[in-house]
């Protein structure tokens, strides 16, 4: 590892860096969300499709798609940090993985929730055992399992490493699980393949969707960094620099 990397791998140097980055990410998150929501509400068509048109309610996709993408992406990032932690034995990596998990779980829940509110007027039901819905639900369980295992173990080192191993096992299993849900009958998998692509989406809708997704992404950075700062202070409470930081922040 290069020196710059290892320098910021130390919680005491990363703490102030994260503090400086948080406002930047909040501004970016607020900016892209405002643009995305404005575009989504005022620059997009009022209804989609021909004979059986989707009316204004389709606009929930501006929250739904971003949340669903982030829920999956954050799981991959979380496993990435967990793996870095296991390989290089860096405490900060575990803390990052730890800080990402709640945000990921919240996005998973948001995707399920917004999806069922879309499904009610569109499909006539809040819940359907569609592969995508089911996969998202399982992802939610995987996040909850990670968080539950971590919080059940008192010893921080064992909790970090055990949860990291679980996350990696989860990521190895995820393709198999999703595939088995997608294709419960191996005799006719090809026929079940879902066709969807960004190319077919209206330009304005796509722009609004990508902007809110970007907003969610920046929001994830901001909340993760805030959470990791809290974790750092809790874990390092016995060190002098942490004690000084806490005192300094209490005074200001």
């Amino acid at each position: 590892m290069s020196s710059a990397w290892s320098k910021f791998a130390s919680p005491s140097t990363f703490y102030p860096l994260a503090g400086r980055m948080i406002p930047v990410f909040w501004v970016l998150a607020a900016g892209s969300l405002l643009v995305g929501l404005y575009w989504g509400f005022f620059e997009t068509p009022d209804q989609l499709g021909g004979s059986n048109a989707q009316k204004g309610y389709y606009r929930i996709i501006f929250l739904h798609v971003g949340a669903a993408w982030m829920s999956m992406w954050l799981y991959a990032v979380m496993v990435g940090w967990a793996a870095v932690g296991l390989v290089f034995n860096t405490r900060l990596s575990y803390m990052m993985a730890n800080a990402i998990a709640p945000t990921g779980a919240i996005f998973t829940f948001l995707a399920l929730w917004s999806g069922s509110f879309w499904g009610r007027p569109s499909w006539g039901t809040y819940w359907d055992w569609d592969p995508r819905l089911t996969s998202e639900l399982i992802l939610f369980f995987l996040y909850i399992g990670y968080i539950a295992l971590h919080s059940a173990i008192d010893d921080a080192r064992r909790a970090d490493r055990a949860a990291a191993l679980l996350a990696i096992v989860g990521l190895v299993m995820v393709p198999v699980i999703f595939w088995s849900i997608n294709c419960p009958d191996p005799n006719q998998c090809a026929a079940l393949h879902q066709r969807s692509g960004l190319g077919k989406v209206d330009g304005n809708i796509l722009f609004a969707m990508l902007m809110t997704t970007l907003g969610f992404w920046m929001y994830s950075f901001a909340t993760t960094l805030m959470r990791v700062r809290t974790i750092i202070l809790t874990r390092e409470a016995q060190t002098t620099w942490a004690a000084e930081t806490i005192q300094a922040e209490a005074r200001s």
């Binding site: 369980f141 539950a148 088995s180 009958d185 191996p186």
Partner: protein, 223 residues
């Protein structure tokens, strides 16, 4: 190397035979769960035929999972596990022996009990045959994947509930194809081949990967 495998396997089986209630409780749990469903959903033949495969598999998942708690717990409490970790023998092999013992005590009896349960649900004879084959291929996967969870939750308070939260989502592929094969067997017997092939693929890949992960988990839990 095989001597180590055999001695751990022999020891675990011997210990289980000395305390037979533990093994039998799991099997009766399976039987009770399976028998409760007809009481809950009604005893019509048509309904039971549809529900049967799924119910049997879910009950098998739960029974195998309940028994997982005991996989490492007793050895952990009396210090045997620490001694096993300290030996110069490969830990993967020791873990694999313990998993094999677990399967012989919980998975294999389920396979043998399958015809009995199949009759309760009015399954056809070919369907029962496929169910036995699917359980034979699927239950070792449950023990293998479950061992990772058992190793991770070793010695934690509320370990059992936590274990189910961690492991049950990972059981989904086995459940989907295991139950799918039995469902299809009543209609078209030859079409079940891909299901069994997939279950066999899960078995082979988990046979390679799961003991490694379990061994790593044990080292994390005990250090």
């Amino acid at each position: 190397m095989f001597k180590v495998f055999w001695s751990v396997l022999h020891r675990d089986l011997l210990l289980a035979m000395r305390r037979r209630t533990d093994v039998l409780t799991t099997l009766f749990f399976f039987l009770i769960v399976v028998s409760l469903f007809p009481l809950g959903v009604g005893t019509e033949t048509a309904v039971l035929r549809i529900l049967g495969p799924g119910v049997v598999w879910v009950a098998a998942l739960l029974a195998s999972m309940l028994a997982l708690e005991r996989l490492f717990a007793a050895d952990f409490e009396d210090g045997t596990l620490e001694q096993l970790l300290l030996t110069d023998q490969p830990l993967v092999l020791l873990v694999l022996a313990k998993i094999t013992a677990h399967w012989l005590l919980t998975g294999l009896p389920l396979v043998l009990m399958a015809p009995l349960v199949g009759m309760q649900y009015h399954l056809t004879d070919p369907a029962i045959g496929i169910m036995m084959a699917a359980l034979l291929l699927g239950t070792p996967v449950l023990s293998l994947i479950g061992a990772i969870g058992a190793a991770l939750t070793l010695g934690l308070r509320g370990g059992g509930i936590l274990l189910s939260l961690l492991i049950l989502p990972l059981y989904i592929p086995v459940l989907v194809y295991g139950a799918g094969a039995v469902e299809l067997a009543a209609v078209e017997l030859t079409a079940t081949r891909p299901y069994l092939m997939l279950l066999a693929a899960f078995l082979l890949s988990s046979l390679i990967l799961a003991p490694l992960a379990s061994a790593a988990a044990l080292r994390i839990s005990i250090e």
